[in-house]
Symmetry: C2
Subunit: 247 residues, 2 copies
Protein backbone atom coordinates (compact mmCIF):
# COMPACT_ATOMS: atom_id res chain seq x y z
CA UNK A 1 0.00 0.00 0.00
CA UNK A 2 1.18 3.54 -0.63
CA UNK A 3 1.79 5.02 2.81
CA UNK A 4 3.88 8.02 1.98
CA UNK A 5 2.05 11.09 0.79
CA UNK A 6 3.19 14.38 -0.68
CA UNK A 7 1.24 17.58 -0.03
CA UNK A 8 -0.60 18.92 -3.07
CA UNK A 9 -0.21 22.39 -1.56
CA UNK A 10 -0.02 24.42 1.62
CA UNK A 11 -2.75 26.61 3.03
CA UNK A 12 -2.25 30.18 4.13
CA UNK A 13 -4.78 31.18 6.79
CA UNK A 14 -5.50 33.97 9.25
CA UNK A 15 -4.60 31.58 12.11
CA UNK A 16 -0.87 32.05 12.54
CA UNK A 17 -0.57 30.13 15.81
CA UNK A 18 -2.52 27.34 17.47
CA UNK A 19 -3.91 29.60 20.20
CA UNK A 20 -7.05 31.21 18.80
CA UNK A 21 -7.48 28.62 16.04
CA UNK A 22 -11.02 27.20 16.27
CA UNK A 23 -11.40 23.51 17.00
CA UNK A 24 -13.87 22.92 14.18
CA UNK A 25 -14.49 24.51 10.80
CA UNK A 26 -17.53 26.72 10.45
CA UNK A 27 -17.23 28.05 14.01
CA UNK A 28 -15.51 31.16 12.67
CA UNK A 29 -17.26 31.82 9.35
CA UNK A 30 -15.39 35.11 8.92
CA UNK A 31 -12.02 33.35 8.91
CA UNK A 32 -10.14 33.10 5.63
CA UNK A 33 -7.68 30.88 3.88
CA UNK A 34 -5.88 30.63 0.56
CA UNK A 35 -4.82 27.26 -0.80
CA UNK A 36 -2.24 27.30 -3.58
CA UNK A 37 -1.61 24.01 -5.31
CA UNK A 38 2.11 23.41 -5.85
CA UNK A 39 2.71 24.69 -9.40
CA UNK A 40 5.26 21.94 -10.17
CA UNK A 41 2.50 19.33 -9.82
CA UNK A 42 0.50 20.84 -12.73
CA UNK A 43 -2.82 20.19 -11.06
CA UNK A 44 -4.87 23.20 -12.17
CA UNK A 45 -6.83 21.06 -14.68
CA UNK A 46 -7.78 18.80 -11.78
CA UNK A 47 -9.81 21.67 -10.28
CA UNK A 48 -12.10 21.98 -13.30
CA UNK A 49 -15.73 21.51 -12.27
CA UNK A 50 -15.02 22.14 -8.59
CA UNK A 51 -16.12 25.79 -8.88
CA UNK A 52 -19.80 24.76 -8.79
CA UNK A 53 -19.50 23.34 -5.27
CA UNK A 54 -20.13 25.64 -2.32
CA UNK A 55 -18.11 23.53 0.14
CA UNK A 56 -15.11 21.24 -0.07
CA UNK A 57 -13.32 18.78 2.20
CA UNK A 58 -9.70 19.39 3.02
CA UNK A 59 -7.63 16.43 4.19
CA UNK A 60 -4.51 17.82 5.82
CA UNK A 61 -1.66 17.16 8.21
CA UNK A 62 -1.61 18.52 11.76
CA UNK A 63 1.94 19.79 11.27
CA UNK A 64 2.17 21.79 14.50
CA UNK A 65 1.79 18.84 16.87
CA UNK A 66 4.60 19.10 19.38
CA UNK A 67 4.20 16.11 21.70
CA UNK A 68 5.98 12.97 20.65
CA UNK A 69 4.34 10.16 22.59
CA UNK A 70 0.78 9.20 21.73
CA UNK A 71 -1.82 9.15 24.49
CA UNK A 72 -4.85 6.95 23.83
CA UNK A 73 -7.07 9.23 25.94
CA UNK A 74 -7.33 12.98 25.74
CA UNK A 75 -8.95 15.85 27.64
CA UNK A 76 -11.31 17.58 25.23
CA UNK A 77 -12.18 21.14 26.34
CA UNK A 78 -15.86 20.30 26.76
CA UNK A 79 -15.09 17.44 29.14
CA UNK A 80 -13.64 19.90 31.66
CA UNK A 81 -10.93 17.56 32.91
CA UNK A 82 -12.46 14.16 32.19
CA UNK A 83 -10.70 11.91 29.70
CA UNK A 84 -12.05 10.18 26.64
CA UNK A 85 -10.64 7.92 23.90
CA UNK A 86 -8.90 9.92 21.18
CA UNK A 87 -10.97 8.28 18.40
CA UNK A 88 -14.12 9.68 20.05
CA UNK A 89 -12.70 13.18 19.50
CA UNK A 90 -11.26 15.31 16.72
CA UNK A 91 -8.02 16.00 18.61
CA UNK A 92 -4.94 16.68 16.44
CA UNK A 93 -3.01 14.15 18.55
CA UNK A 94 -3.83 10.93 16.67
CA UNK A 95 -1.86 7.86 15.55
CA UNK A 96 -1.86 9.40 12.06
CA UNK A 97 -2.06 13.20 12.51
CA UNK A 98 -4.52 13.70 9.67
CA UNK A 99 -7.16 16.43 9.85
CA UNK A 100 -10.52 16.66 8.08
CA UNK A 101 -12.40 19.94 7.60
CA UNK A 102 -15.22 21.10 5.39
CA UNK A 103 -14.66 24.71 4.33
CA UNK A 104 -16.51 27.18 2.16
CA UNK A 105 -15.19 27.59 -1.37
CA UNK A 106 -15.39 31.29 -2.25
CA UNK A 107 -13.72 31.12 -5.66
CA UNK A 108 -10.99 29.50 -7.70
CA UNK A 109 -8.35 31.45 -9.65
CA UNK A 110 -6.03 29.21 -11.65
CA UNK A 111 -4.11 27.15 -9.09
CA UNK A 112 -5.50 29.00 -6.10
CA UNK A 113 -8.59 28.33 -3.97
CA UNK A 114 -10.04 31.14 -1.86
CA UNK A 115 -11.73 29.74 1.23
CA UNK A 116 -13.61 30.85 4.34
CA UNK A 117 -14.84 29.20 7.53
CA UNK A 118 -11.48 27.50 7.97
CA UNK A 119 -9.97 26.01 11.14
CA UNK A 120 -6.51 25.19 9.83
CA UNK A 121 -3.33 26.67 11.19
CA UNK A 122 -1.35 28.69 8.65
CA UNK A 123 1.02 26.53 6.63
CA UNK A 124 -0.87 23.24 7.03
CA UNK A 125 0.12 20.74 4.32
CA UNK A 126 -2.92 19.66 2.27
CA UNK A 127 -3.11 16.05 1.11
CA UNK A 128 -6.43 16.08 -0.74
CA UNK A 129 -9.44 18.14 -1.80
CA UNK A 130 -12.84 16.49 -2.29
CA UNK A 131 -16.19 18.02 -3.23
CA UNK A 132 -18.74 18.06 -0.39
CA UNK A 133 -21.68 15.87 -1.42
CA UNK A 134 -24.69 16.29 0.87
CA UNK A 135 -26.16 13.02 -0.44
CA UNK A 136 -23.19 11.13 0.98
CA UNK A 137 -21.78 13.46 3.65
CA UNK A 138 -24.72 15.18 5.34
CA UNK A 139 -26.33 13.29 8.22
CA UNK A 140 -28.10 15.96 10.26
CA UNK A 141 -29.60 13.41 12.65
CA UNK A 142 -26.50 11.39 13.43
CA UNK A 143 -26.18 10.69 17.15
CA UNK A 144 -23.31 12.46 18.78
CA UNK A 145 -22.47 10.49 21.91
CA UNK A 146 -20.79 12.33 24.74
CA UNK A 147 -20.76 15.73 23.02
CA UNK A 148 -24.58 16.02 23.15
CA UNK A 149 -24.60 16.65 26.89
CA UNK A 150 -21.60 18.95 26.77
CA UNK A 151 -22.52 22.38 25.51
CA UNK A 152 -19.68 24.69 24.53
CA UNK A 153 -19.24 27.87 26.50
CA UNK A 154 -20.17 31.17 24.88
CA UNK A 155 -18.26 34.24 25.99
CA UNK A 156 -19.62 37.77 25.73
CA UNK A 157 -17.28 39.85 23.57
CA UNK A 158 -16.87 43.61 23.79
CA UNK A 159 -14.71 45.75 21.53
CA UNK A 160 -13.27 48.96 23.01
CA UNK A 161 -13.19 52.17 20.98
CA UNK A 162 -9.41 52.01 21.21
CA UNK A 163 -9.38 48.62 19.49
CA UNK A 164 -11.72 49.86 16.76
CA UNK A 165 -9.50 52.92 16.23
CA UNK A 166 -6.39 50.69 16.12
CA UNK A 167 -8.02 48.61 13.42
CA UNK A 168 -8.89 51.66 11.30
CA UNK A 169 -5.29 52.86 11.47
CA UNK A 170 -3.68 49.49 10.85
CA UNK A 171 -5.64 47.53 8.31
CA UNK A 172 -4.12 47.53 4.84
CA UNK A 173 -6.32 47.96 1.82
CA UNK A 174 -7.85 44.60 0.98
CA UNK A 175 -8.69 43.55 4.50
CA UNK A 176 -12.23 44.36 5.50
CA UNK A 177 -12.42 45.87 9.01
CA UNK A 178 -15.97 44.62 9.63
CA UNK A 179 -14.98 41.10 8.70
CA UNK A 180 -11.84 41.27 10.83
CA UNK A 181 -13.91 42.37 13.85
CA UNK A 182 -16.40 39.59 13.17
CA UNK A 183 -13.61 37.04 13.10
CA UNK A 184 -12.25 38.38 16.44
CA UNK A 185 -15.71 38.16 17.97
CA UNK A 186 -16.34 34.63 16.64
CA UNK A 187 -12.97 33.43 17.96
CA UNK A 188 -13.32 34.92 21.43
CA UNK A 189 -16.93 33.75 21.85
CA UNK A 190 -15.51 30.22 21.85
CA UNK A 191 -13.04 31.02 24.67
CA UNK A 192 -9.94 29.51 23.08
CA UNK A 193 -8.09 29.13 26.41
CA UNK A 194 -7.30 25.65 27.73
CA UNK A 195 -9.59 24.23 30.42
CA UNK A 196 -7.00 24.95 33.11
CA UNK A 197 -7.45 28.71 32.49
CA UNK A 198 -11.17 28.67 31.80
CA UNK A 199 -12.42 26.77 34.79
CA UNK A 200 -15.59 24.77 34.19
CA UNK A 201 -18.90 25.76 32.66
CA UNK A 202 -20.49 25.85 36.11
CA UNK A 203 -17.50 27.43 37.82
CA UNK A 204 -15.73 29.68 35.35
CA UNK A 205 -12.40 31.09 36.42
CA UNK A 206 -13.43 34.39 38.07
CA UNK A 207 -10.07 36.13 37.75
CA UNK A 208 -9.08 38.85 35.36
CA UNK A 209 -6.23 38.28 32.94
CA UNK A 210 -4.89 39.81 29.76
CA UNK A 211 -4.05 37.61 26.77
CA UNK A 212 -3.09 38.03 23.16
CA UNK A 213 -3.57 35.99 20.04
CA UNK A 214 -2.36 36.47 16.53
CA UNK A 215 -4.92 36.88 13.76
CA UNK A 216 -3.46 37.44 10.31
CA UNK A 217 -0.65 39.98 10.86
CA UNK A 218 -2.16 41.46 13.98
CA UNK A 219 -1.91 40.85 17.68
CA UNK A 220 -5.31 40.99 19.35
CA UNK A 221 -4.97 41.92 23.04
CA UNK A 222 -7.95 41.22 25.25
CA UNK A 223 -8.95 41.03 28.89
CA UNK A 224 -10.94 38.09 30.29
CA UNK A 225 -13.14 38.78 33.30
CA UNK A 226 -15.11 35.66 34.14
CA UNK A 227 -17.03 34.93 30.93
CA UNK A 228 -16.57 38.35 29.34
CA UNK A 229 -13.82 39.19 26.86
CA UNK A 230 -12.94 42.83 26.17
CA UNK A 231 -10.70 43.56 23.19
CA UNK A 232 -8.29 46.26 24.37
CA UNK A 233 -5.93 46.77 21.47
CA UNK A 234 -5.13 45.50 18.03
CA UNK A 235 -1.46 45.91 17.14
CA UNK A 236 0.71 45.11 14.19
CA UNK A 237 2.10 41.67 15.07
CA UNK A 238 5.75 41.52 16.13
CA UNK A 239 7.88 38.94 17.84
CA UNK A 240 8.07 41.28 20.83
CA UNK A 241 8.60 39.11 23.91
CA UNK A 242 6.68 41.61 26.07
CA UNK A 243 3.48 40.91 24.08
CA UNK A 244 0.63 39.60 26.24
CA UNK A 245 0.99 35.90 26.95
CA UNK A 246 -0.72 33.00 25.24
CA UNK A 247 -2.24 30.80 27.90
CA UNK B 1 5.89 17.32 8.42
CA UNK B 2 5.05 13.68 9.00
CA UNK B 3 4.17 12.28 5.57
CA UNK B 4 4.44 8.59 6.18
CA UNK B 5 1.48 6.93 7.81
CA UNK B 6 0.90 3.47 9.23
CA UNK B 7 -2.54 1.87 9.09
CA UNK B 8 -4.28 1.58 12.46
CA UNK B 9 -6.08 -1.46 11.09
CA UNK B 10 -7.54 -3.11 8.02
CA UNK B 11 -11.23 -3.42 7.22
CA UNK B 12 -12.92 -6.64 6.22
CA UNK B 13 -16.00 -5.99 4.08
CA UNK B 14 -18.52 -7.82 1.93
CA UNK B 15 -16.97 -6.15 -1.16
CA UNK B 16 -14.21 -8.54 -2.21
CA UNK B 17 -13.49 -6.94 -5.58
CA UNK B 18 -13.89 -3.46 -7.01
CA UNK B 19 -16.72 -4.44 -9.36
CA UNK B 20 -19.94 -4.18 -7.35
CA UNK B 21 -18.42 -1.90 -4.69
CA UNK B 22 -20.63 1.18 -4.40
CA UNK B 23 -19.08 4.53 -5.23
CA UNK B 24 -20.29 6.24 -2.06
CA UNK B 25 -21.09 5.07 1.45
CA UNK B 26 -24.75 4.83 2.41
CA UNK B 27 -25.81 3.71 -1.09
CA UNK B 28 -25.84 0.10 0.10
CA UNK B 29 -27.08 0.33 3.71
CA UNK B 30 -27.23 -3.47 3.96
CA UNK B 31 -23.49 -3.80 3.33
CA UNK B 32 -21.26 -4.77 6.23
CA UNK B 33 -17.73 -4.29 7.43
CA UNK B 34 -15.56 -5.24 10.38
CA UNK B 35 -12.64 -3.05 11.36
CA UNK B 36 -10.06 -4.60 13.67
CA UNK B 37 -7.47 -2.27 15.11
CA UNK B 38 -4.00 -3.79 14.97
CA UNK B 39 -3.59 -5.37 18.41
CA UNK B 40 0.13 -4.48 18.63
CA UNK B 41 -0.80 -0.78 18.60
CA UNK B 42 -2.76 -1.10 21.87
CA UNK B 43 -5.44 1.31 20.76
CA UNK B 44 -8.57 -0.17 22.35
CA UNK B 45 -8.60 2.57 25.05
CA UNK B 46 -8.65 5.12 22.23
CA UNK B 47 -12.15 3.87 21.25
CA UNK B 48 -13.69 4.69 24.62
CA UNK B 49 -16.60 7.09 24.21
CA UNK B 50 -16.98 6.37 20.50
CA UNK B 51 -19.80 3.87 21.15
CA UNK B 52 -22.30 6.73 21.63
CA UNK B 53 -21.88 7.94 18.03
CA UNK B 54 -24.15 6.49 15.36
CA UNK B 55 -21.76 7.30 12.50
CA UNK B 56 -18.01 7.59 12.09
CA UNK B 57 -15.59 8.81 9.42
CA UNK B 58 -13.07 6.40 8.03
CA UNK B 59 -9.97 7.83 6.38
CA UNK B 60 -8.42 5.07 4.33
CA UNK B 61 -6.11 4.20 1.46
CA UNK B 62 -7.39 3.20 -1.99
CA UNK B 63 -5.08 0.20 -2.03
CA UNK B 64 -6.51 -1.43 -5.16
CA UNK B 65 -5.63 1.37 -7.56
CA UNK B 66 -3.89 -0.22 -10.49
CA UNK B 67 -2.99 2.62 -12.86
CA UNK B 68 0.35 4.24 -12.29
CA UNK B 69 0.19 7.59 -14.07
CA UNK B 70 -2.10 10.25 -12.68
CA UNK B 71 -4.68 11.84 -14.97
CA UNK B 72 -5.89 15.28 -13.90
CA UNK B 73 -9.30 14.67 -15.50
CA UNK B 74 -11.49 11.64 -15.05
CA UNK B 75 -14.69 10.17 -16.51
CA UNK B 76 -17.18 9.87 -13.65
CA UNK B 77 -20.02 7.41 -14.42
CA UNK B 78 -22.66 10.12 -14.27
CA UNK B 79 -20.88 12.23 -16.88
CA UNK B 80 -21.41 9.49 -19.48
CA UNK B 81 -18.13 10.08 -21.28
CA UNK B 82 -17.46 13.74 -20.47
CA UNK B 83 -14.37 14.54 -18.45
CA UNK B 84 -14.04 16.58 -15.27
CA UNK B 85 -11.20 17.59 -12.95
CA UNK B 86 -10.39 14.84 -10.46
CA UNK B 87 -10.73 17.18 -7.46
CA UNK B 88 -14.37 17.80 -8.47
CA UNK B 89 -14.99 14.06 -8.00
CA UNK B 90 -14.48 11.36 -5.39
CA UNK B 91 -12.50 9.13 -7.77
CA UNK B 92 -9.95 6.79 -6.12
CA UNK B 93 -7.36 7.97 -8.65
CA UNK B 94 -5.98 11.03 -6.82
CA UNK B 95 -2.51 12.49 -6.22
CA UNK B 96 -2.75 11.03 -2.71
CA UNK B 97 -5.03 7.97 -2.92
CA UNK B 98 -6.86 8.74 0.33
CA UNK B 99 -10.53 7.88 0.74
CA UNK B 100 -13.13 9.39 3.06
CA UNK B 101 -16.37 7.63 4.01
CA UNK B 102 -18.94 8.06 6.71
CA UNK B 103 -20.25 4.67 7.84
CA UNK B 104 -22.74 3.47 10.41
CA UNK B 105 -21.27 2.23 13.68
CA UNK B 106 -23.28 -0.80 14.76
CA UNK B 107 -21.25 -1.73 17.85
CA UNK B 108 -17.76 -1.94 19.31
CA UNK B 109 -16.30 -5.09 20.88
CA UNK B 110 -12.84 -4.55 22.34
CA UNK B 111 -10.58 -3.74 19.40
CA UNK B 112 -13.24 -4.41 16.77
CA UNK B 113 -15.78 -2.07 15.17
CA UNK B 114 -18.86 -3.55 13.49
CA UNK B 115 -20.01 -1.30 10.66
CA UNK B 116 -22.70 -1.07 7.98
CA UNK B 117 -23.37 1.16 4.96
CA UNK B 118 -19.75 0.79 3.87
CA UNK B 119 -18.25 1.39 0.42
CA UNK B 120 -14.71 0.13 1.08
CA UNK B 121 -13.13 -2.76 -0.72
CA UNK B 122 -12.15 -5.64 1.54
CA UNK B 123 -8.69 -5.20 3.04
CA UNK B 124 -8.55 -1.40 2.78
CA UNK B 125 -5.91 0.04 5.15
CA UNK B 126 -7.50 2.47 7.62
CA UNK B 127 -5.51 5.56 8.63
CA UNK B 128 -7.94 7.23 11.02
CA UNK B 129 -11.37 7.08 12.67
CA UNK B 130 -13.20 10.26 13.64
CA UNK B 131 -16.63 10.74 15.20
CA UNK B 132 -19.23 12.23 12.84
CA UNK B 133 -20.30 15.60 14.25
CA UNK B 134 -23.40 16.99 12.51
CA UNK B 135 -22.63 20.46 13.91
CA UNK B 136 -19.39 20.52 11.90
CA UNK B 137 -19.95 17.94 9.16
CA UNK B 138 -23.59 18.16 8.09
CA UNK B 139 -24.38 20.76 5.43
CA UNK B 140 -27.63 19.59 3.85
CA UNK B 141 -27.89 22.66 1.64
CA UNK B 142 -24.36 22.72 0.23
CA UNK B 143 -24.36 23.32 -3.53
CA UNK B 144 -23.24 20.36 -5.54
CA UNK B 145 -22.01 21.72 -8.86
CA UNK B 146 -22.09 19.41 -11.84
CA UNK B 147 -23.61 16.43 -9.98
CA UNK B 148 -26.94 18.25 -9.45
CA UNK B 149 -27.96 17.91 -13.11
CA UNK B 150 -26.70 14.33 -13.40
CA UNK B 151 -29.11 11.87 -11.84
CA UNK B 152 -27.84 8.36 -11.23
CA UNK B 153 -29.53 5.54 -13.07
CA UNK B 154 -31.79 3.19 -11.15
CA UNK B 155 -32.06 -0.35 -12.40
CA UNK B 156 -35.03 -2.61 -11.73
CA UNK B 157 -33.84 -5.72 -9.89
CA UNK B 158 -35.58 -9.11 -9.98
CA UNK B 159 -34.55 -12.18 -8.00
CA UNK B 160 -35.35 -15.59 -9.54
CA UNK B 161 -36.66 -18.42 -7.39
CA UNK B 162 -33.50 -20.32 -8.26
CA UNK B 163 -31.36 -17.57 -6.75
CA UNK B 164 -33.49 -17.48 -3.60
CA UNK B 165 -33.21 -21.27 -3.29
CA UNK B 166 -29.42 -21.07 -3.83
CA UNK B 167 -29.21 -18.59 -1.01
CA UNK B 168 -31.21 -20.78 1.38
CA UNK B 169 -28.89 -23.69 0.67
CA UNK B 170 -25.66 -21.76 0.83
CA UNK B 171 -25.79 -19.18 3.55
CA UNK B 172 -23.93 -20.17 6.71
CA UNK B 173 -25.50 -19.50 10.08
CA UNK B 174 -24.81 -15.91 11.01
CA UNK B 175 -25.51 -14.39 7.61
CA UNK B 176 -29.04 -13.12 7.27
CA UNK B 177 -30.62 -14.12 3.91
CA UNK B 178 -32.96 -11.11 3.85
CA UNK B 179 -30.08 -8.76 4.42
CA UNK B 180 -27.95 -10.47 1.79
CA UNK B 181 -30.76 -10.12 -0.76
CA UNK B 182 -31.21 -6.49 0.20
CA UNK B 183 -27.51 -5.85 -0.36
CA UNK B 184 -27.69 -7.54 -3.79
CA UNK B 185 -30.69 -5.41 -4.72
CA UNK B 186 -29.07 -2.17 -3.49
CA UNK B 187 -25.86 -2.92 -5.42
CA UNK B 188 -27.57 -3.81 -8.70
CA UNK B 189 -29.98 -0.87 -8.56
CA UNK B 190 -26.91 1.34 -8.98
CA UNK B 191 -25.80 -0.52 -12.14
CA UNK B 192 -22.14 -1.00 -11.18
CA UNK B 193 -20.99 -1.52 -14.78
CA UNK B 194 -18.67 1.03 -16.40
CA UNK B 195 -20.25 3.58 -18.74
CA UNK B 196 -18.98 1.71 -21.79
CA UNK B 197 -21.26 -1.24 -20.90
CA UNK B 198 -24.20 0.75 -19.59
CA UNK B 199 -24.70 3.19 -22.42
CA UNK B 200 -26.14 6.55 -21.41
CA UNK B 201 -29.13 7.45 -19.28
CA UNK B 202 -31.07 8.39 -22.42
CA UNK B 203 -29.76 5.52 -24.52
CA UNK B 204 -29.10 2.54 -22.29
CA UNK B 205 -27.30 -0.39 -23.83
CA UNK B 206 -30.22 -2.54 -25.12
CA UNK B 207 -28.30 -5.83 -25.27
CA UNK B 208 -28.56 -8.77 -22.92
CA UNK B 209 -25.48 -9.92 -21.05
CA UNK B 210 -24.66 -12.07 -18.07
CA UNK B 211 -22.29 -10.81 -15.38
CA UNK B 212 -21.10 -11.85 -11.96
CA UNK B 213 -19.84 -10.03 -8.91
CA UNK B 214 -18.50 -11.27 -5.64
CA UNK B 215 -20.36 -10.36 -2.46
CA UNK B 216 -18.88 -11.80 0.71
CA UNK B 217 -18.02 -15.40 -0.16
CA UNK B 218 -20.60 -15.70 -2.92
CA UNK B 219 -20.69 -15.15 -6.63
CA UNK B 220 -23.85 -13.34 -7.68
CA UNK B 221 -24.70 -14.11 -11.32
CA UNK B 222 -27.17 -11.81 -13.04
CA UNK B 223 -28.51 -10.93 -16.46
CA UNK B 224 -28.81 -7.34 -17.65
CA UNK B 225 -31.51 -6.60 -20.21
CA UNK B 226 -31.61 -2.86 -20.87
CA UNK B 227 -32.25 -1.37 -17.43
CA UNK B 228 -33.45 -4.57 -15.77
CA UNK B 229 -31.22 -6.89 -13.75
CA UNK B 230 -32.31 -10.45 -13.02
CA UNK B 231 -30.36 -12.42 -10.43
CA UNK B 232 -30.01 -15.93 -11.85
CA UNK B 233 -27.84 -17.76 -9.36
CA UNK B 234 -25.93 -17.31 -6.18
CA UNK B 235 -22.96 -19.66 -5.90
CA UNK B 236 -20.23 -20.28 -3.40
CA UNK B 237 -17.39 -18.14 -4.68
CA UNK B 238 -14.48 -19.90 -6.36
CA UNK B 239 -11.62 -18.79 -8.54
CA UNK B 240 -13.25 -20.74 -11.39
CA UNK B 241 -12.17 -19.05 -14.64
CA UNK B 242 -15.46 -20.04 -16.28
CA UNK B 243 -17.38 -17.80 -13.83
CA UNK B 244 -19.39 -15.07 -15.55
CA UNK B 245 -17.22 -12.14 -16.50
CA UNK B 246 -16.78 -8.85 -14.68
CA UNK B 247 -17.30 -6.06 -17.15
Amino acid sequence: MPNSFEPIGFIETCFKERFGTPRQPGLVPSSWGILRLRPELNLSDALQGLEGFSHIWLIFVFHQNTNKGLKTKVHPPRMEGEKIGLFATRTPHRPNPIGLSVVKLERIEGNTLHLSGVDLVDGSPILDIKPYLPSADSLPHAQVGWTSSRPERTVEVLMTEEATADLRGLLPAGIDATRFKEAVREILELDPRPTFYKGTLEKPNPYTDVYGFRLDDFNVVYRMEGVRATVLHIQKWTDDPSAPPRP
